[in-house]
Symmetry: C4
Subunit: 208 residues, 4 copies
Amino acid sequence: MFDVTRYAIAAQSIIDAGRFLYGQGWSPATSSNYSARIDDEHIAVTVSGRHKGQLVAGDVMVVDLDGNAVQSNARSSAETRLHTVLYQTFPEVGAVLHTHSVKATVLSRLLPAGKPLTLQGYELQKAFSGIDTHEAELTVPVFDNTQDIAALAQQTGDWFRQHPDQPGYLIRGHGLYTWGRTMSDCLRHVEAFEFLFECELETMRVRR
Amino acid sequence: MFDVTRYAIAAQSIIDAGRFLYGQGWSPATSSNYSARIDDEHIAVTVSGRHKGQLVAGDVMVVDLDGNAVQSNARSSAETRLHTVLYQTFPEVGAVLHTHSVKATVLSRLLPAGKPLTLQGYELQKAFSGIDTHEAELTVPVFDNTQDIAALAQQTGDWFRQHPDQPGYLIRGHGLYTWGRTMSDCLRHVEAFEFLFECELETMRVRR
Amino acid sequence: MFDVTRYAIAAQSIIDAGRFLYGQGWSPATSSNYSARIDDEHIAVTVSGRHKGQLVAGDVMVVDLDGNAVQSNARSSAETRLHTVLYQTFPEVGAVLHTHSVKATVLSRLLPAGKPLTLQGYELQKAFSGIDTHEAELTVPVFDNTQDIAALAQQTGDWFRQHPDQPGYLIRGHGLYTWGRTMSDCLRHVEAFEFLFECELETMRVRR
Amino acid sequence: MFDVTRYAIAAQSIIDAGRFLYGQGWSPATSSNYSARIDDEHIAVTVSGRHKGQLVAGDVMVVDLDGNAVQSNARSSAETRLHTVLYQTFPEVGAVLHTHSVKATVLSRLLPAGKPLTLQGYELQKAFSGIDTHEAELTVPVFDNTQDIAALAQQTGDWFRQHPDQPGYLIRGHGLYTWGRTMSDCLRHVEAFEFLFECELETMRVRR
């Protein structure tokens, strides 16, 4: 059984995150999904298909670590297992955000199949927990989009077990997944990724 | 005779839509026009030439399905028949939005005459009612601009009777038309289109 | 002598215009200047060097049609005579706005010396008073920047006496001048120009 | 000993600057740092790692001109000495802002090693204190990024002692440093720089 107060706090952090992310243009047209850990066995996650800038209490439900709804008939996000695999793999993760910006979408489609996005020389890489120099190299893998979420959860879980220091990934034509110890850290990671995506695209625009 | 309360509710949805769309930069300089269905025979539609981010009650009038003003001397939008032909063709449509963004305008001018905009591989295609996979192909026809609205209403009505699953169209140098069962669905469709237009333009900017 | 109430109303329209224009990013770093007609002999105009998004009552002074301060020791905008020549040339003009956007600045620098910006095929050309078709051709002359304002006032006055239907001009590396019968019309003209500038630049970006 | 009221006023100017700069997108993901002079020996500066759009009183500390914390155990910004060297070199400087925009980051990475950014022909150059014509040439040096702040403080101090009229500099992949007599002047300088950076990038985007 989960603690109701902890659920309420987790849900509020998700609602507030949605207002910010939608306002930035990173969660258009009911896309995206957000989650936050309640305890070792329970995750608060957005219900499928809601407007992310206008989330209310009833738009956040509880699932277990296999993605099954707990005490609810609501349908969780179709991608819930992409969240739960991260909570299972990394016990210290407290929040996961999937956003769907133009830049993440376009960049993921421009990268050749099998090639990750690599970033180096940006001071803002230090915004990611654990990175303390601009000389480190960030690797952002790009996974092909699919309606088979179970398979994608397996793929992403495997890759990040092997590369636990990397902070996020892209799904081709679909957006970004990133996480953090707290929702605050996770939002900072999204901001940093969107900044870096824009830097890369701007560089491509002027060098074309 | 139309129900006054239903008119008032339809008008309010239009006023609210205008605040949002103008705020996004998609309805500049008194451009654009919006409508919502009142009943089988009556449509609420914006009066011609009003600032779309500052609509008030008197800026929304009633027309019949031929575009004639009902109980009003006000001049409806010059393009009213582009709205009414959709309500006639699709009984389930409850709202139609014509927006006028930079991206819709530029993209429509870049496409060669007779060629539609085709979109594929974007997860956000699923934002359109009836689409459930990123592997579907969206076809967005581009019609030449004209001051002869009756002819354009005929053209668009014919095309969409043959392609009822496609969610909208462009008028060259003039903007986007899209619709939905509710105003909420329709706004989501506009957001999705603008996202996809920007993805396409961004891809064109970075590719030689 | 000017009517104090008419001055106050003109000043308020300028203050409100500044909040909007600064918020759009079109009047950065204390650039720009705005004016509105009080009567046949008096113009309200922004004092030199004030933050245009934070104008208060004391930031708007009165000048005569030669640009001389009336009942004030404040320094009017350095470019006041670019405003007064328009009020002298066109008795029906009630407001003049000089804005300083990135797009106006960049476009004006890209155009070869002596060549105007010509625009055609945009439905939004109809936002300019007197234009009723997208097939008309808009001509926007570009004047070289100079610190000799008297000479530039002469140049612009002469050109628009010969082309009274054209709605505005650019100063190279310096921005846009446009006007209208009312402040509301004038703001609509600025919005339309910025939209068209962005369309032109976007087209250049993707066609490069 | 510093005057507490002067500290409070300096801190408030920093907090307000942060709200504005973060809102513009120029201080993402806890990047950036800001300072203001309290007196000849004391500087108010942002504590390391705080969200710059949500600064509160406890996020601003006091340091001396060598960057040592005064009456505090908090950790000042890692780059404090890049601020203090400016207060030492220029007694009239009252505020220093380091911002971290996409445009500053990208432009600084595009410039070849050893080459400054030179700007000419922009009317908005006059936004910088001491510049009164668009025909002047602005030189913005680009220093390589480094974790050795003492060395960079030496480098920047030396360069600006030789070029006291130039208004700011870039750190490659890291952002902009600029200053002013007051926080208000300094904010105007940041706005002017970001405008000019965008003009330069836009020109590069459209030119082959």
